[in-house]
């Protein structure tokens, strides 16, 4: 009798220990997953372009953006907005997390000059449209479809993370002799005192072709 009781007690203890270990392992796995920094590149560096596309000569005339895709980080959005400048001459930013804004004072996609796009890395508890922009690499493809049906294909030249206090204004907004691309979001450490990231992540690219599907 006593043996049975001991056996039962021993079995229950073993079971409980096993369950506890499993729960702890699961929690550790979840925590490790959530706090870890696995690669956020979720797609190919370049998408396949339509085989029957019709080339359009660059540079282009002005036209609004209808779609922006960055295959390597899984961005594919039609949630777009035109941006202006604030009173202190800063670039406006979208008023929500996922929207990608285009600087209306700059070049249109495919037009001579830099077409500048900006989106949040995060905002109001939600990841922004450019949450993974820092994962973009040189050579990646960016495709921007215009409202006139022309798609401009850009190739990323480099990705810089720069201190906001040393923002390369001329490099980002300055005139260029060809059609170029700038993608901007925040990066670096978050300064809780001023509730702002210390850096900006800037993707520099240039147009390689334009086509109609």
């Amino acid at each position: 009798m006593a043996t049975t009781t001991e056996q039962g007690t021993g079995t229950n203890g073993t079971t409980r220990a096993t369950i506890g270990i499993l729960v702890v392992l699961a929690l550790l796995a979840v925590v490790a997953y959530l706090s870890g920094d696995p690669s956020q590149r979720v797609g190919p560096a370049a998408a396949d372009l339509p085989a029957d596309r019709t080339a359009v000569a660059l540079p282009l005339e002005s036209a609004a953006t209808s779609n922006l895709r960055i295959p390597s980080i899984g961005v594919d959005t039609r949630q777009l907005k035109e941006l202006g400048q604030t009173e202190d001459r800063r670039l406006e930013v979208p008023k929500d997390a996922p929207t990608v804004g285009h600087y209306a004072g700059g070049a249109a996609p495919g037009e001579r000059g830099p077409a500048v796009y900006a989106s949040h890395v995060n905002y109001r508890g939600v990841d922004g449209g450019f949450a993974r922009l820092a994962e973009v690499e040189a050579g990646d493809q960016v495709l921007i479809e215009r409202e006139d049906g022309v798609t401009v294909v850009y190739a990323v030249d480099r990705v810089d993370e720069v201190d906001k206090n040393a923002f390369p204004t001329a490099q980002v907004y300055g005139p260029t002799t060809d059609a170029q691309l700038r993608l901007i979001t925040c990066g670096g450490e978050f300064d809780t005192d001023v509730r702002s990231y210390e850096d900006n992540v800037i993707v520099f690219g240039h147009a390689v072709e334009a086509y109609r599907a």
């Binding site: 039962g8 079995t11 229950n12 079971t15 409980r16 369950i19 506890g20 499993l22 729960v23 699961a26 929690l27 796995a29 979840v30 997953y33 959530l34 706090s35 920094d37 956020q40 400048q85 001459r89 800063r90 670039l91 930013v93 600087y103 004072g105 700059g106 070049a107 001579r112 000059g113 900006a118 989106s119 949040h120 890395v121 995060n122 905002y123 109001r124 508890g125 939600v126 990841d127 922004g128 450019f130 720069v162 201190d163 906001k164 206090n165 923002f167 204004t169 001329a170 907004y173 300055g174 005139p175 260029t176 002799t177 901007i184 979001t185 925040c186 978050f190 702002s196 990231y197 900006n200």
Partner: protein
């Protein structure tokens, strides 16, 4: 501004004098000279002076010169004493007299035979030398190739009465429009003003010119009138209407000398503004010249705006500091036109998520945790029943 007005005044008056001169070319030669042979007759005419042993002198340089010419080969004493300015005419007469020999004195002696006769006398003197004096004293065999300008009608007070008001009107309208026309003054430092003779005629165009400028009036306080007076006097004295071409040439030189800073002749408005706006541009063209963007290049418009930020022509209607934006640079095609760069960094994040996980991923994690919890709870209960 005032100084420039004076220069333009000179130009206008000179232009008027040109008109007077053109109306009566050659009048200097045809102008009458005093014909008085007695002291009483001479001094009956205003301005004339009887000089004992010389004759009647009207007191003006030009008249004296003409009189000397008229005397032709008259006595050397006559020429020398009456010619105060030593003019070319007097010298010619003297030379003719010398070359002509003593016989040349015959037709002379009485002044006032007219300038044409005087010139002929010079020719006669020369011919006397060549022909050994056989034709001395004829005074009528002028060489056609060197014939003098034929006599013309003298300038009358009537012509002057018409011309001077026109000059004054031009002054008032063109130059003095914004100045008070009160307390008017004549040109300062004028010499004795020649007066017309009893018939209302001036002796020559020079005298008429001096009389004309003496009648012009300028508002008190006009700057540069002394200089203007000297310039106009010089102009009148040098008038030589015997040759129209020479007159115009000399006038052109005079205009260039008087008003070298004027870009073009008065009254001529350029059709284009200069790309570079000189310092005196507005002083001269203000109120006279309006330009609009279609008439200007981008550079010209902005040069004007840079010179006068008050934007008198309203070339920068949006007041953004850039004139005639529509007149784009030719090299603008190389670039996109920019309103102006934004500056500084971009505030694209509020740090509200730092997980790096998407909402779906968080939900999946929560699901896993929930599943594990439920599974563990079920196992605990089952073993508890068994126990």
């Amino acid at each position: 501004m005032r100084g420039r007005r004076s220069s333009r005044s000179a130009a206008v008056v000179l232009a008027g004098c040109v008109g007077l001169a053109v109306m009566a070319p050659g009048l200097a030669l045809a102008a009458p000279v005093p014909s008085a042979t007695t002291e009483a007759e001479c001094e009956a005419v205003a301005g004339n002076t009887w000089i004992e042993g010389v004759g009647c002198d009207d007191g003006t340089t030009s008249t004296t010169t003409t009189t000397t010419d008229a005397s032709g080969s008259g006595s050397a004493a006559s020429s020398g004493s009456s010619t105060s300015s030593g003019s070319t005419g007097a010298g010619t007469g003297t030379t003719a007299n010398t070359d002509g020999g003593g016989a040349a004195g015959t037709p002379a002696g009485t002044p006032g035979t007219g300038s044409a006769t005087g010139t002929t006398g010079t020719e006669t003197g020369t011919e006397n030398t060549e022909d050994d004096g056989t034709e001395t004293g004829t005074g009528t065999t002028a060489d056609p190739a060197t014939a003098p300008v034929p006599p013309a009608e003298p300038i009358s007070t009537v012509a002057l009465a018409e011309g001077v008001p026109q000059l004054q009107a031009a002054l008032n309208e063109d130059l003095l429009e914004d100045l008070p026309l009160a307390d008017l003054l004549p040109l300062p430092d004028l010499p004795d003003i020649p007066q017309p003779d009893a018939d209302g005629n001036f002796e020559n165009v020079n005298a008429a010119c001096l009389n004309a400028i003496s009648q012009l009036q300028f508002p008190t306080g006009t700057e540069g009138l002394d200089v203007l007076s000297q310039q106009l006097q010089g102009f009148c004295e040098q008038l030589d209407p015997t040759t129209l071409t020479d007159l115009l040439d000399s006038l052109l030189e005079l205009l260039n000398g008087l008003i070298p800073s004027l870009p073009e002749a008065p009254g001529t408005i350029p059709t284009e503004a200069p790309s570079y706006v000189p310092a005196n541009y507005w002083g001269y063209w203000h109120k006279q010249y309006d330009v609009d963007c279609p008439e200007l290049t981008y550079d010209e418009a902005n040069a004007i705006l840079a010179w006068d930020r008050s934007d008198p022509f309203r070339l920068d209607r949006d007041d953004d500091g850039e004139a005639c934006e529509g007149n784009a640079h030719g090299d603008d095609v190389e670039y996109v036109e920019y309103i102006g760069y934004p500056v500084g960094g971009v505030a694209t994040g509020d740090g509200s998520t730092g997980s790096g996980a998407s909402g779906v991923e968080v939900a999946l994690a929560a699901g896993v945790l929930s599943g594990l919890g439920v599974t563990g709870l079920a196992l605990v209960r089952r073993f508890a029943r068994q126990g």
